[in-house]
Amino acid sequence: MSLDEIKIGGMGASRRRVEDNRFIRGKGNYVDDIVLPGMLHMEILRSPLAHARIKSIDTSKAWAIPGVRLVMTGEMMASRNLAWMPTLSYDTQAVLATDKVRFQGQEVACVIADDPYIAKDACEAIVVDYEPLPVVVNPVQAMAPGAPLIRDDKENQHDNVVFDWEVGDKDGTEKAFAQADVVSKLELHYPRSHPSPLETCGSIADFDRATSKLTVYMTTQAPHIIRAAVAMVAELPEHMIRIVSPDLGGGFGNKVPVYPGYVASILASILLERPVKWIEDKTGNLISTGFGRDVYLRGEMALRKDGKILGVRMHTDSDHGAFFSDAQPSKFKIGLMHSAFACYDIPAAHLTARGLYTNKAPGGVAYRCSFRVTEAMFFQERMVQAAADDLGMDQAEFRRLNFVRDEDFPHRTAFGFLTDSGQYAKCLDVGLEAIGYKDFLKQKEEAKKRGRLLGIGISTMTEPLGAGNSREYDILGIKMFDSAELRVHMSGKAILRTGAKSQGQGHETTWAQIVAHELGIPADDITVEEGDTDTAPFGMGTYASRSTPVAGAAVAMVSRKIRAKARKLAAHLLEVSEEDVEWELGRFYVRSSPDRGVTIQDCANAAYSNMPDGLEPGLENTAYYDPPNLTWPFACYIATVEVDPGTGVWDVLNVVAVDDCGVRINPMIVEGQIMGGLTEAYAMASMQFITFDAEGNCVGSNYMDYLLPTAWETPGFELHEVVTPCPHHPIGAKGIGECATVGGPAAFVNAVMDALKGTGVRNIDMPLLPDRVYEAFTTRRDISGMPPVKTED
């Protein structure tokens, strides 16, 4: 009899997260928990100014402090050709500043000492003489004639433009606009925010002179990419580098780039021949490591009177900070921004994108999203609402009218993506039903008569998750496939390793469930291990919701390879030919006599103790998976709000989420991901942003100024599901980790804008802080987050 898949923790089981056992007991093993014999501590001295020439650095007082082992400056790095390092996007970034500092918080010097207190004291004893330079804090200033040149270190760089890029059909789009009855326009800023994982970045570099081997424990979402980068920067052979990413306290895209601190700790360990630990403090993390977003978007939509969208034009000016150091697939300079409008059937579209350097920390990491998809979907759904309003159409009906229909898949989007599956209208219906759409509209009208402002916001979107395929997606030329290696022991227990790297997603739990589904080995019998480049198969790591679509697929495929071999062993044990063997979960049996069978565990035992002649012993294998396409989950988020006209404060009344991420491996984990994502969406909409004053000072360098929502103010969420299996993924799954962060913000903003409908206000830039809402409501004009930010009255 076949096993009960839920009982063995297979697909569809809301199995408890196995990793939580150690996390809840305080037994996690984070980088800062690791203590090596003879370990020293590193601190970084950061620039207080956003743009300044370094005239001199005097380290003598730091060297004089007892317990100081090494003081490193840019000059010293330069003498070893390490002052600059390549970034993951073909730019360069200063490891320690030599010529000038280009953002507040930039790394200027490092001290390595016996303990972190001494290192901090010594950093304060370093005297740097700066000559302040004019500061550029936004794209408008960056493009202005005569703007100070930020990257004067680069040959052939004569302005602050990082790239100019375009995609789509320019002429076709122009034709669409020529035929339009109505043209709707929208301009907005998606503000800069910081992924802010609770654990900051850090590393322990341990160079062993005797073996010439470098081991680095570090906070990275992509250990193998880091190994490639370290091999390049430190000019060490790859087999002499071991990167270990232990437990991670969150990543959210912040732990993909290569940071100067990692490189400095490596050099220090090589020079001192002792382990060197660097643990960034919270302020260091918030002001210097990979930001997200910070894009100015404007666009217009060509519309027919009956509501049909004829074409879309978009332009983005993205603020990358001083170095283009976020990882983007090399073909697509502004990531997957052109996935915008993918769920709508639009004949023509054109996007132009300009990237700009500013005197801000390097930005643009995929903060819980797939390469700029968050900005794309936010603009899309804000634009859709504005267009529906301009046409005087119901916002739900306008969406339904323009959705790609179920029978139209596969569908080529106007920007060239191939979407392959979905039931968009059904998801919308489930959402409208759950929120009580018609009733709410009535309630809203009633409330209005009594001076109360209610609003409802909808956001529907499909987004491309799970890069690659290798034809189109690479980082630094390395194609974006992934891998899994499965070793089934003699007892039928197993260890699985993948090239992904969990940082809270629960891979240890869900990967085992995929194996259980494919092989019938109970999930509890499977250990999952990731993050050590000496043991894990080569993979591109975890970000962009790629783990389940790519590494998860590899897990299914390697399990199938194991099953194929186990079938041979079963035939041998059952003394029949392979063709006569049938499979049911966990067991092979003889077709003609189903009672005669052997379990997968029996086969595992035979692989080591009783294999047939000519068959290799053992039951282990590896699979590399290169997905044929991205996966395209769909989501419908609806929020209702009430705005307080006396203060501009808005309260969330209800939130409904309908997610179609295909087949759900572990429904509980999926729901956790959606709730986490909606929390971040609410955060973006309501409070979470990092801004800069006119001097380039970062306002938001700590958790009192940079607001992350807590359980206290986060609203409740009601979750629903629709399942459209992914047609090309081996188990029908699609990405889900980021959908709510990506699609959620527009639902909240649209709801507040809906509450203000009729006041003439078309846009308030996020976050919708009470003062912005109040000002928009009372002055009846749009509120732009456009810097220079106001500081004084």
């Binding site: 901090k120 006396g646 607001l707 103010e713 009470p770 003062d771 930010v789 106001k790 004084e792």
Partner: protein, 291 residues
């Protein structure tokens, strides 16, 4: 985040603590709840040479009400003690309204009201509450005790009237002469956030007339603001829509907010006005309910 080197002392009596402060000659700091001092030390905004931890001095954690209604809050009485106090809920609505909106539950478990007054943060909530209530801080130094009105206790941003070798022993809310009423409203961007603007209103009424009023403003000036003209305008008359609106205007005028990333000066003034109206309208409702 590593503070500079400091000496740590843990006295067992007030006299011992005062002696240590005296010995420290201005370089020593009291540690009460540590919810303001410790973050400042970690950020190296404060670098005291000596920490005098008063948490091991017995008998400072009290919250008592005298027979006449005078309230005493000891130096180690925590925000959470005040939040959970049924005494305050019954007798002191302004304090009862403020306690649960200070910081977050974790900070409230350690932070103290007296420490908050001493810290003199213009965005601290208790200073405006104490001003509105006409509260008093009792200080003790080598030369004995003295009482300082809360309205005079704050000298400027993060500066109080204590001498370097004085400890604030307790805060006192004087006995009310009428029926105490009032409230505290705070605009925050998130739980645990300091006030973008906060308004404390404390009134005492007798036979339908306001016989005493105090209004304190949080976060809308270089230090806590005592909106005396606004409060005074209410005294000697019943509360009406007109008198409330007038007091709200005067309070908004008394505010000296600055525009920053939390909002423009005019917005913050508007919040002050809205809050004064909302608190006093609530007072009217509760008086009507009582009558």
């Amino acid at each position: 985040m590593y503070p500079t080197r400091f000496n740590y002392e843990s006295p067992k009596s007030i006299a011992e603590a005062i002696a240590l402060l005296h010995q420290g000659g201005g370089e020593a700091k009291i540690l009460a709840g540590g919810q303001s001092l410790v973050p400042m030390m970690r950020l190296r905004f404060a670098a005291p040479e000596m920490i005098v931890d008063i948490n091991n001095i017995p008998g400072l954690d009290y919250l008592t009400v005298d027979a006449d209604g005078t309230i005493h809050i000891g130096a180690l009485c925590r925000h959470s003690d005040l939040e959970k106090s049924s005494l305050l809920m019954a007798h002191q609505p302004t304090m009862a309204a403020a306690a649960p909106v200070i910081a977050d539950p974790i900070v409230r478990n350690r932070g103290t009201l007296v420490g908050s007054l001493c810290h003199a943060d213009p965005q601290g909530d208790w200073s405006s509450v104490m001003m509105a209530l006409g509260g008093i801080v009792v200080a003790q130094g080598p030369n004995g005790r003295r009482s300082i009105p809360a309205a005079d206790f704050v000298k400027g941003p993060f500066q109080n009237m204590l001498a370097f070798d004085e400890i604030a022993i307790e805060a006192i809310v004087p006995a009310p002469k009428g029926i105490p009423n009032g409230g505290y409203l705070k605009l925050e961007r998130r739980v645990g956030d300091f006030a973008t603007a906060g308004v404390a209103v404390a009134v005492e009424s007798s036979q339908g007339l306001i016989i005493r009023a105090g209004i304190g403003l949080t976060g809308v000036g270089g230090s806590t603001i005592n909106a005396t003209a606004a409060a005074q305008s209410l005294v000697g008359a019943p509360l009406t829509a007109g008198s409330i609106a007038h007091a709200a205007d005067l309070a908004a005028q008394a505010a000296q907010p600055r525009s920053d990333h939390r909002g423009s000066a005019s917005y913050k003034r508007q919040i002050v006005k809205t809050f004064v109206v909302r608190i006093l309208s609530g007072v009217v409702e509760s008086m009507e309910r009582a009558a």
